[in-house]
Amino acid sequence: MAADGGMKPLQNAMKLAKLAIQLDAGNRHKEAYCEYLRSINYISHALLEDAESIEEGEMVAEEVEKMLKLAEQCLERAKSFIGREESLSAISTTTTLAEPSYHSTTATSVAVCPGNVVSPQDPDTESKLNSSPGHRRALSDGGGGLSPFLPPEVFQRLQTIEPLGTRKELTPIEEASRLNQKLKANYEARLARLPPAQARTQKTSLTLSFERQMMENLIIAKARQDALQRKMEERRLRLQEEANRRFAASGSITAEEPEQRVLYTNVLEYEQDHDWPKLWKAKLKKYPDDVTLASGLVSRLLSCPDHPVMKLLKRHQYRVYNRLYPIVSKCLPASPALSIKPSHSTQSLSISGSRRRASESGVGHSLSSNASLNMTCSNEHNSSTVDSGCDGHHTPNRENSFEDLEQFLSQLDWQPCHGDHNMTFEPSHQVDQETLIKDLEMRALKDHLKAIVKDIHNAIDQLLSLCLLSFECLNTANSKDLCLASIEEAFFTPVWGPLLALFRKVHRQRELSFESSMTLYRDASPDAVGVSPELYPQDPAVLRGSYPYESAVQELRLLSRDCCPQKKLDCIVRTLRVICACAEDYGSLQEEDSKTASIGADDLLPILSYVTLRCELPQLVSECAALEEFIHEGYLIGEEGYCLTSMQSALQYVESLHTRGFQLHNSKLT
């Protein structure tokens, strides 16, 4: 997990807060206000996740305290806007009026408030941020209910933060603004130094000359800016033509081509401004067989957030996340400050979702015989009802004294129950209606999942082709695989959490079956699932306190740690290899000369079933279903494909176990 190098929550929170302060200092009140709220939102999200995680909290007390302090400060700042709330928008417009030239260009707050410039983020943390902001945690505790995810806006912010301070080159107008700031400071200092006697006479002339200088600066800057813009425009046209020529040469015309052409123009533009692509291309041309060069280039590319390939990647990522979020985020407390715009269909989905879960918990009661299952169901029921209560209750009490808050919360506890009862139908129709609704919802969820999977495939295809278009030198079989693997890793790492959550929703019934079998067979010996007695030691002493195939179980448990399909697949392959190695070891322990031949599928599948039972991770079902969608075609036929298929079979078998009863395995043993 540490290797993933995700940023610490505190650092993320500080980053967000810094951005808010910058905006605040730049008099962009409304944006600053929103940004403060976002910081608070993120902090509470991170702390909540930490506090709820089963393993001991990853954060140290000191860090938690700092986070809370930070939240407090953000809250203070946000509160300070409230008095001016109505004028929030007005303020920004009036300041715009007062200093039109400053605010007409975007992102000039740096120029306006040089004193407050936050030190530029070092590129190191920048790139770390790209890898994973904190979703690994959402994943790692995914055993129970759905963990809440960051709202898409915060997600995007964390993915693409481009701090205002990092701009290296200022536009002419920005430069002029800076200059004018200095002039202003000078002017004020001189005014202050004036002896009172001369103040009146000199002030006018000083003011006049100050204003004239400012005006001049701005006019010059404007002219330079226009010239620059014209030049850029010309260059753009030239590059566009180049791109067109390139595409004309390739012949085939597809629907995506115009888009690809625009993207390629961006690449050319980028290459005019940056030297590294040229240098790497030259290097690769010189040593085309050097594999390390290709991988070096790919990682260089991935570390450049402003390269068109990476920009496209972030865009696709955000799009996917945005589509996932409304469906998987139901546990998130609704915050009025966030304006998420769910599409019509997803909204109806999420509303009915809580009802679905309510009905499911009813099913759980009647079907299951074990306590733990009921617990999880009812827990989820609770959480869903609470947040549906939040949905309906957008107006918190004004004076936030503690009693009011308590009262408010107790209201929340009660209300949803009434709400739920109002929703139910006549008892006689209820079952029919609910199954119908459940069916419809499931179908909608499946369609949604299918669409998202397709989107992801398309996104990755587009990314790969743009990548190969930008660096033709990578268009060899080996380098192409490398590119694809790197792109996938960068793409999937931050979105795997919510993606898996959707898969889990769709495969919920399968996971429940798996859980039922798991509780039934948790302590069963390997032969209960049909493992031949020759393939594990009968003498407990040999195992020294562990159970058979424990190392394989440990290996498999690591599966949920990775966030990228290829790595997960590798984990499954390793698990099967460990099983084979274990079987061989156990075989060599047997005294009789019944030479245990290499194990085939007849032996492998029962052992694998046993290992998955012992693993106690119902989400394996969904993980594997997701892997099935994202495994490369080239791997399908090979060892990876075989291992995934075997894992799927073992899981399916385990799911069916609890309905079969114990004796069935005796019917046919090898």
Binding site: C580, A583, I599, G600, A601, E633, L636, G638, C643
Partner: protein, 221 residues
Amino acid sequence: MAAGGGAGGSNKTYSFKVVLLGEGCVGKTSLVLRYCENKFNDKHITTLQASFLTKKLNITGKRVNLAIWDTAGQERFHALGPIYYRDSNGAILVYDITDEDSFQKVKNWVKELRKMLGNDICLCIVGNKIDLEKERHVSVEESEGYAESVGAKHYHTSAKLNKGIEELFLDLCKRMMDTAQAEERAKGNGASQSTSSRRGVQIVDDEPQAATAAGGCCSSG
């Protein structure tokens, strides 16, 4: 080297998936191990032991990569068969000539395979353990007749004596290549190469193989 000349400039490599079906005790594991373990090839044994094996061949100048997927023979895993044999190019269905029951199981699989995969898949029905000829319970006429009736080829093997195994695989490979080539022709050459679907031909760049399976086959046959 031989491949470079024989292939006539095409560096195409065929990748085929072959599933191995058969009841628990018919000896399919020994069969496939015998094939992949022979002295030229022992390095091809993967870390998954007999469950999943690969073999590289060179047939009439064309490179072939075989991926041999073993399946579980137990009844309770039968429902899971389809995910194993989807996209297969060939299937080897093994029975034990001393066990009538295992032959009946083969018939069931044939039905299922034909139903799921149609005629695209090359079927081989294999009567193993011919070293136990004296205890034979499945007659040669019956089994060969059945194979012909379902469009499959029939082979007799002995994993113990290493008999008939090379021929079986070589023959299967040739048939799969014919099927793949026919498919290619049907699609129209050239453009179809890059868009070839999940099953069938893949273009892989790997070093030419010197060892020829044909030679091994002749010596053992």
